[in-house]
């Protein structure tokens, strides 16, 4: 599957989230949206108009928000608990651990504006630790869709999945990468581009940058495989091991710290099963400076050309 990378139209994945949730809620009256005053930033305005009783706004109180979500699930409701990703995860991490994961409550956690979507607002509002915080918790699938199509598919999948999950959504515009009608399968990577020289693995807003990097590499005579790995946990070990064995080098890129995120998760599989050279691109363990998400991604070496350069350098380190 060679997905389009030059699509001029960029989409805010929150719109796909909101439209899908409203459609699901029309069909299933147990669905409720829970939020922390974030009706606007979570794009829940339409939901509020259509289902005013089913929008549970707890005010600016994230710990309570997550606990209330667990209680709503206990009472037979299907809650989508929505809030800005840094506060939903960071402020409420113990509630996520005890009330949601350990209790195995059927709650869908939706982290909005993850990564560096709030770039200019500074590190308090960056959510570049949430993969690390959430993927270590048992019972919690961790999912970062790459485009509006995968976002809609994941939101729909979550309703049918019995158990908690964490959906990590961005507000940064991304082009379409997956075909219309794409069905989300938990723990399955999507092969977006075939290649045998190196594998580029990403999710969320980085997947389309990987596709652009692969195009640049192709111009340089290098065939890069591209995997979209929306599910960080449970991770697609099979696809990662195949990538290691068949291409001999792996580059990861993520809108997250290089510590504990997607790159770390891939590296854990690689080192256990098929060690090959890797390069993990991301925020290098610092509080990021001021700038838009796009600026910061470029700043930290994730412009498509920089990704291509990193891949090329890595290929030189491949085992003979």
């Amino acid at each position: 599957m060679n997905a389009p990378v030059n699509s001029p139209k960029l989409y805010d994945c929150r719109d796909a989230f909101a439209a899908t949730l409203e459609r699901l809620a029309t069909e299933d009256d147990t669905i409720v949206a829970v939020c922390n005053d974030s009706v606007g930033s979570s794009k829940l305005g339409g939901f509020k108009t259509k289902f005013p009783d089913r929008l549970v706004n707890v005010g600016i109180a994230e710990q309570n928000m997550v606990g209330v979500g667990a209680g709503l699930a206990n009472g037979g409701r299907l809650p989508y608990v929505c809030g800005a990703a840094p506060f939903l995860t960071g402020r409420s991490l113990e509630q996520i651990k005890a009330d949601i994961c350990y209790s195995n409550a059927n709650v869908k956690l939706v982290g909005i504006s993850s990564g560096m979507a709030y770039g200019e607002l500074g590190p308090t509002h960056h959510s570049i630790e949430d993969f690390a915080w959430t993927r270590v918790l048992p019972n919690l699938p961790v999912i970062a869709p790459c485009d509006r199509i995968e976002t809609a598919a994941a939101v729909e999948w979550a309703a049918s999945y019995s158990g908690p999950c964490f959906l990590r959504l961005s507000r940064v515009g991304v082009p379409d990468l997956l075909p219309e009608g794409h069905k989300f399968v938990l723990g399955k990577a999507n092969l977006l581009r075939e290649g045998s020289d190196v594998t580029l693995i990403a999710n969320g807003t980085l997947t389309h940058r990987m596709m652009k990097a692969a195009s640049i590499l192709a111009e340089r005579g290098i065939n890069a495989r591209v995997l979209n790995l929306a599910t960080v946990r449970p991770i697609d070990e099979e696809a990662i091991i195949a990538a290691a064995n068949e291409t001999g080098a792996i580059v990861t890129a993520e809108e997250h710290s290089v510590f504990g995120g997607l790159g770390s998760a891939v590296a854990e599989v690689v080192v256990d099963h098929s060690p090959v050279p890797m390069r993990r691109l991301g925020v290098p363990g610092i509080f990021a400076p001021t700038g838009s998400a796009e600026f910061l991604l470029d700043e930290f070496g994730m412009a498509p050309s920089a990704i291509a350069d990193a891949a090329q350098e890595l290929i030189r380190r491949k085992k003979a």
């Binding site: 710990q63 606990g67 509630q95 009330d99």
Partner: protein, 270 residues
């Protein structure tokens, strides 16, 4: 159950709890003794539940937010027929489902996992809100410790319960005046609790939480807003040398102390 039968059951639960903590060599006996009258009244009089259908959607919900007093809940659940009584002897043993804090995925009758403080009330608010949304008739009860009310998450939930007009929610604060390290007044004195809850638009009832004649009607009270019962209790209630002593938060009696305690509780049973 009538009041006299409830009082007798509470003493039996205290005796079994005492033995479990003594044999396991660990537990939180002080706070267990203080809360047992409330647990007994709930499980043997007030709560609508079906031990053979622990997930019946119409069951009343009970959350033990002060999860460290799990042993008292296990004994109560066993006496009520949710788990076998002989299983209490596995308390804290390797691979026992009866660990130091209750697990809803292993122990029937437990609604949500507690242990870290300040978690139960927000979850209970969600349970009560769910009933409002679905039209279910169940009532939700939650017990917190008084020291536990120092957790900010509780006050987030108190605000939400009032905003959502949850007249189907009852919070019982086990006000035994001691927390792990010292008295409440020496640590972060929340007393008096009544005006604080009233300021947040809750109904408040103050009772002697170790007097069944006051516990039962307070639990059965229904109003038009969320209800808080400030249950004035004694840490270590029923065992003379434990009462109102901070040491007995999680101290374990030695053989001599155990025998004295058994004798005192048994005498009260006769």
């Amino acid at each position: 159950m009538e009041i006299s039968e409830l009082e007798r059951m509470a003493r039996q639960i205290r005796l079994r709890d005492l033995r479990a903590v003594y044999e396991a060599g660990a537990g939180h006996i002080g706070g267990e003794m203080s809360v047992i009258d409330v647990l007994t009244a709930l499980y043997f009089r007030v709560l609508r539940l079906w031990p053979d259908q622990p997930k019946n959607p119409e069951r009343d919900r009970f959350v033990l937010s002060k999860g460290h007093t799990a042993c008292a809940l296990y004994v109560t659940l066993a006496k009520r027929g949710f788990i076998p009584e002989e299983e209490i002897s596995t308390f804290l043993k390797p691979h026992s489902r009866l660990n130091g804090h209750p697990n809803c995925n292993k122990v029937p009758g437990v609604e949500t996992n507690t242990g870290p403080l300040g978690h139960g009330l927000p979850v209970a608010v969600g349970m009560a809100k769910a009933a409002k949304l679905s039209g279910a008739g169940y009532h939700t009860y939650v017990v917190t410790g008084d020291g536990e009310m120092q957790e900010g998450s509780n006050w987030e939930a108190i605000m939400a319960a009032a905003q959502f007009k949850l007249d189907n929610l009852t919070l019982i604060i086990d006000h035994n005046r001691f927390q792990q390290g010292a008295s409440l007044s020496e640590t972060n004195d929340l007393a008096p609790l009544r005006p604080k809850l009233e300021a947040f638009a809750w109904d408040v009832t103050e009772i002697d939480g170790n007097n069944m004649h006051e516990v039962v009607p307070a639990l059965e009270h229904r109003g038009d807003r969320p209800h808080c019962i400030v249950a004035h209790t004694n840490k270590g209630h029923g065992i003379s040398f434990m009462q109102d002593t901070v040491d007995w938060h999680h101290k374990v009696p030695n053989k001599e102390q155990y025998e004295i305690a058994v004798a005192e509780l048994s005498e009260a049973l006769q």
